[in-house]
Symmetry: C2
Subunit: 258 residues, 2 copies
């Protein structure tokens, strides 16, 4: 609970503490910065010493973080400034959302609508991850392949349709958003989070998505294209800084697709 006191801080206020190279769960945090043009440091992608700083910072924080991603926040103050570390992906998004203008203003319940939708999108992300690691997160995919084959069937046949139908309904019911936004008529962190999950699932299960896309025209066309076209997001994509999916949370194993 004690903020760390330090010398006067001159760089960006926010530093993302995450694994290097992969998009992973850190990408949900990067997206809210990129969508709003907010300066941040992606610590472990800044050089060789980066990941060491990530590990140290999250271990020495009080309370420590359970796992990356974590966010290092620098506060300015008369004593030369201080910093805190907060962790858990949905918690970081919750913290940043109102500060970066990614939740509707002047409506208390809207924050909880946005947060509930982001949590549901992240549940879908976790389930997509568990498809290739159904038994043991510390072992290789190749060591749990028969179980992954079984789980991929359930995920493709039942879980993807359940989540997609839910978000299609949310988009349709939000008449104000015209299929472009989940809540209201402006971008929220629920939108950027869901969009990243959709991109990841399309990367992992391209045949499945192609086959069912016509069932979710708002979600998979109108919504997905609109978020991709947001100024900050499209600039991020064309900058080359956005890291491609590889063998992180979302993985493409053809045998797990239809």
């Amino acid at each position: 609970m004690t903020p760390r006191q330090g010398k006067y801080h001159t760089g960006p206020k926010y530093e993302l503490l995450y694994h290097p190279e992969i998009p992973g769960r850190g990408e949900y945090v990067r997206l809210v910065f990129e969508a709003t043009g907010t300066p941040y440091i992606d610590v472990s992608n800044q050089g060789k010493a980066g990941y060491k700083k990530v590990e140290q910072t999250i271990t020495e924080a009080n309370p420590p973080a359970f796992a990356p991603p974590a966010l290092l926040i620098h506060y300015e103050g008369h004593d030369g400034g201080s910093s805190v570390v907060i962790s858990q992906t949905p918690n970081i998004l919750l913290y940043l959302g109102p500060k970066l203008g990614l939740v509707p203003e002047g409506d208390e319940t809207a924050l909880y609508y946005v947060n509930g939708l982001a949590l549901t999108a992240l549940d879908m992300c976790n389930e997509a991850h568990d498809v290739h690691h159904p038994i043991d997160v510390e072992k290789y995919y190749e060591e749990q392949k028969p179980e992954a084959m079984k789980k991929s069937y359930a995920f493709r046949k039942k879980r993807i349709p359940k989540f997609f139908a839910y978000f299609e309904t949310v988009l349709t019911k939000n008449t104000e958003g015209d299929g472009k936004y989940l809540v209201g008529n402006r971008l929220t962190y629920a939108d950027t989070t869901l969009w990243q999950v959709l991109e990841g699932i399309d990367f992992a299960f391209p045949n499945t998505i192609r086959k069912i896309s016509k069932n979710y025209p708002v979600l998979l066309s109108k919504f997905r294209e609109n978020i991709k076209d947001q100024k900050g997001i499209s600039e991020y994509i064309s900058s080359g800084r956005r890291r491609p999916f590889s063998i992180g949370v979302f993985r493409h194993y053809p045998e797990l697709d239809v």
Copy 2:
């Protein structure tokens, strides 16, 4: 986003919308009410029509809830009052926490510390659930027993120690809390949530917990006993209203324990 308008509301402000009988994820919400002596209605445990009301309310909400639990909140107003529904367990706890005095006051970052710890405790709950349902949540345990046996090994050997060591460290580092509280020196919803997860894991894996309990003296003795002794919690337990674990999120299958 539109609150539902209705006739003047005279009952408790909060109604929990969840499955009947089992403690499940609804119990995390019940605990914050019980710990603070806050009136609430546990809708589906109020009579035969209860669960129908639960299903209708969460479907008709805008945005709809993905799954129970959800919270129906009645607001008083000059137009006769209105109500909203919010969903996702950690989101409900986040909403109620500050209102029920279950987060430290006057320290912005403390809310995010509490929330991050509650999210981590709920991750442990989800993993405990997935032990008996590693492949397909819509099928019976008996249909995925060989995979559950494998997953229980990884959960007992690696995941329980990882989570427990983390929370033992958090409790030890929070010198202000003297091993009794995760954040500061007063009860928060991270405490009630972690306590329920510990109770559930002890129910599901009693031999495992007995075997390792000496490794986590603060977490499994001092902390656990302190939360159980909180006035509202101990009254709730002796009232007989707290539902026993059975075949919900936490399940005791002897073959999955050590």
